[in-house]
């Protein structure tokens, strides 16, 4: 995180705000709600409070503006610059200006008003841009479902460094951006996807292309705004050019790069008994058309051609795959199966039916 040059900050914690005008692209109540939620992002982690004023000068004046709006920083029309805000201080200090020509929404279409206002309020409170790609104060826009939004740890650290901690008995914490070469990095799910390998972690995905040395970090929502964060299992059916993604008792199907219509469906659709509440990991063996689902200490085998579970399953994982413990993630590549358990990775040879190598989970990132 970065403080604004000169370390400007408000001298008191009880601040006021006022919404000067509204955009015709959203219901007024939705604008009010988005702004209120954006303010609570910061008040939840500090002792700052925000009181709404209807008619007087407030510390933070929030308005929608068009092109040149007399602050020496004209807007540029749709896309490009979405909004800006001014550091704490008198007059224009603390104010937030939103580009009226943007497609403001309360969901994943266009630009989510809540996310943009929450970012701009960071400036109103004295923060500058962070170079942590997962931080709210990162300069470029990225969508997170407001229902799932958690203020990242980088932003919490920044704002608490200016205004101190909140009164809460237990200090709130936030998601930390995964670093590909962090030896403690673990994964929620891993799948191949048209020759690439996708490593899921929280709201992020690390995308590894065989020809590129570096893994690319992206928000899952950048590619699939309708997918939740915290994907728990994923596998590619190469023959059908599909990837199935699992979270709790639901699954989605990716056809190419798009979410297939009619999903999510319940995992019981695949033949799981109701006693199964979630899938830990999965991979599909292209050669046999069999898909393996790992749940706790057991695994099921699914026949992709018959589209049903094979009988005589589930079986104990240890009986057929050895001592790999609970499976966090698994994928198949070049005929081998790679099991991930915490920061450890096991390379399993299905022909020899045994583990042939043990590595760090981050071995794919050329650290």
């Amino acid at each position: 995180y970065v403080f604004t040059a000169g370390n400007p900050k408000w001298k008191r914690n009880n601040l006021t705000y006022r919404i000067l005008n509204y955009t015709p692209k959203m219901r007024q109540a939705d604008v009010d709600e988005a702004i209120q939620k954006a303010l609570s992002v910061w008040s939840n982690v500090t002792q700052l409070t925000f009181q709404k004023l209807e008619d007087k000068e407030a510390d933070i004046m929030i308005s929608f503006a068009y092109r040149d709006h007399q602050d020496n920083s004209p807007f540029d029309g749709p896309n490009g610059q979405l909004a800006h805000a001014f550091q704490p201080g008198e007059g224009i200090g603390g104010d937030v200006h939103l580009d009226e020509e943007e497609a403001w929404t309360k969901d994943g279409r266009g630009y989510n008003l809540f996310i943009v206002v929450a970012h701009e309020l960071g400036h109103s409170l004295g923060l500058s841009h962070s170079n942590d790609p997962g931080a709210l104060m990162y300069p470029t826009y990225s969508y997170t479902d407001p229902k799932e939004f958690l203020l990242p740890q980088d932003d919490i650290d920044g704002i608490q460094a200016i205004y101190g901690q909140s009164n809460a008995a237990v200090q709130p914490t936030g998601p930390v951006t995964p670093q590909a070469c962090d030896p403690n990095l673990t994964f929620d799910a891993i799948t191949t996807l048209r020759g690439e390998t996708i490593f899921f972690k929280g709201r992020y995905m690390l995308r590894k292309h065989p020809e590129r040395t570096e893994a690319e970090l992206n928000f899952i929502s950048l590619f699939w705004p309708k997918l939740p964060s915290g994907i728990q299992a994923a596998y590619e059916n190469i023959e059908r050019d599909e990837v199935l993604l699992f979270k709790e008792d639901k699954y989605w199907v990716l056809r190419g790069y798009d979410i297939a219509p009619g999903y999510p469906k319940q995992i019981y659709h695949l033949g799981f008994p109701k006693t199964v509440k979630r899938v830990n990991a999965a991979y599909s063996d292209e050669a046999t058309g069999k898909t393996y689902f790992f749940i706790a200490d057991r695994y099921w085998r699914y026949d992709e051609n018959k589209k049903s579970m094979d009988s005589a399953y589930p079986r104990k994982i240890v009986s057929d795959f050895g001592k790999i413990g609970r499976v966090d993630a698994v994928f198949q590549k070049n005929g081998y199966i790679y099991f991930f358990h915490g920061t450890t990775q096991f390379q399993f040879d299905p022909r020899a039916k045994r583990i042939v190598r043990k590595m760090k989970s981050i071995s794919w990132f050329n650290c």
């Binding site: 604004t4 979405l82 300069p139 470029t140 826009y141």
Partner: protein, 82 residues
């Protein structure tokens, strides 16, 4: 003569790069665009500053990854200074 498409593209790219660096990295608006700057080209230096901020290869040139980042919708507040 009509501007060749690639030259036109190049002009468009240069304008994108210049306005981005002026807006967010304090590149001075160039009143004398044909007068060469002292020392390392300030445009290349500002480009490197932007590439460093976003963790890109610091080539000092508007390569693909850099242009891709410049085209992303973003906040209007500068990344360096105010």
């Amino acid at each position: 003569f009509p501007v060749a498409p690639e030259a036109e593209d190049e002009g468009k790219t240069l304008r994108l790069v210049e306005s981005y660096l002026q807006n967010f990295y304090g590149l001075q608006k160039d009143d004398h665009p044909y007068v060469r700057k002292k020392g390392e080209d300030s445009l290349a230096a500002k480009l490197k500053e932007m590439q460093a901020f976003f963790g890109l290869q610091m080539t000092g040139k508007p390569d693909l990854d850099t242009l891709k980042m410049m085209r992303k919708p973003r906040c209007g507040v500068p990344d360096i200074g105010q």
